[in-house]
Subunit: 146 residues, 2 copies
Amino acid sequence: MSGHTTIVNHLRRTGYRVTPQRVIILEALQRQGGHMTAEDIYARVRAEHPYINRSTVYRTLDMLSKENIITVTDLGKGSVHYEMSSDEPHHHMVCQQCGKVEEVDHALLEPLQNSLLRKYKFKANIEHFAIFGLCHKCQEKLRKAR
Amino acid sequence: MSGHTTIVNHLRRTGYRVTPQRVIILEALQRQGGHMTAEDIYARVRAEHPYINRSTVYRTLDMLSKENIITVTDLGKGSVHYEMSSDEPHHHMVCQQCGKVEEVDHALLEPLQNSLLRKYKFKANIEHFAIFGLCHKCQEKLRKAR
DNA sequence: CTGAATGCAAACAATTTGCATTCAT
DNA sequence: ATGAATGCAAATTGTTTGCATTCAG
């Protein structure tokens, strides 16, 4: 699931209409790469195409996530983050001190995923993963402060 | 950290004033046991003490979590959940289909916690953990639906 | 041409804030 | 008596909705 045309074709096949605003929003997501909030995306899109409406952005993001073209992650910042889905799942460590978000190798999460399935028959959706805590730098800072 | 007086004493020692509203909010949290949103707590408290203000509830919850008397969990429902801190940490599996929240044994999380520390020096705050996915029942339902 | 998608303005939910008043210490 | 905490009303933030208009297919 990547590349403009592939996605656009998928949408068309599924019965969605390919409007200019949808294309523009998709492009913004692809250009950025990392996480963005709806509001980030709106701002970015607005910069070049001032006629695009905020609700269109929200509705499009909703649609894209239902189609698994983008993934939604709740990083505990009061608003959800979006990014393009990728083949290699990755996860997020969120520093509660400085707010920095780092990525976690999927391999570290797999054992947990398996044990949850074995013990609780719970199928963890690991795309939707955010781990909160303290990054290395902030631990150092805290230690020195004492 | 449990029992009315222990907490009340801790607060007083730390320089907080022990107001009736704070005591009432604490009691509501203790009576309930499980997670509650700020709004849940407000409603419950209001039922018996209608004079208590909404902002007082929010401010008190804020204070209690800063003092580690309660823990905050973002279960991805648009509003944060609170519950009394306990000695045995536990975590949450949130079913994205039916919304049910189950608890996860801490033992399953420990390996992850360790590997994050080893590989990224990231100190995961595991009190703040929510794992999203599909519970057993909803997996069954989904399978049958197809 | 036709219904899906957009734009707009208004509604909403959860939370926060400024400020005058009250009350725990 | 003094500043911390409360109550109140208003503001903010992020998001959703109803409805008339537009435009992709």
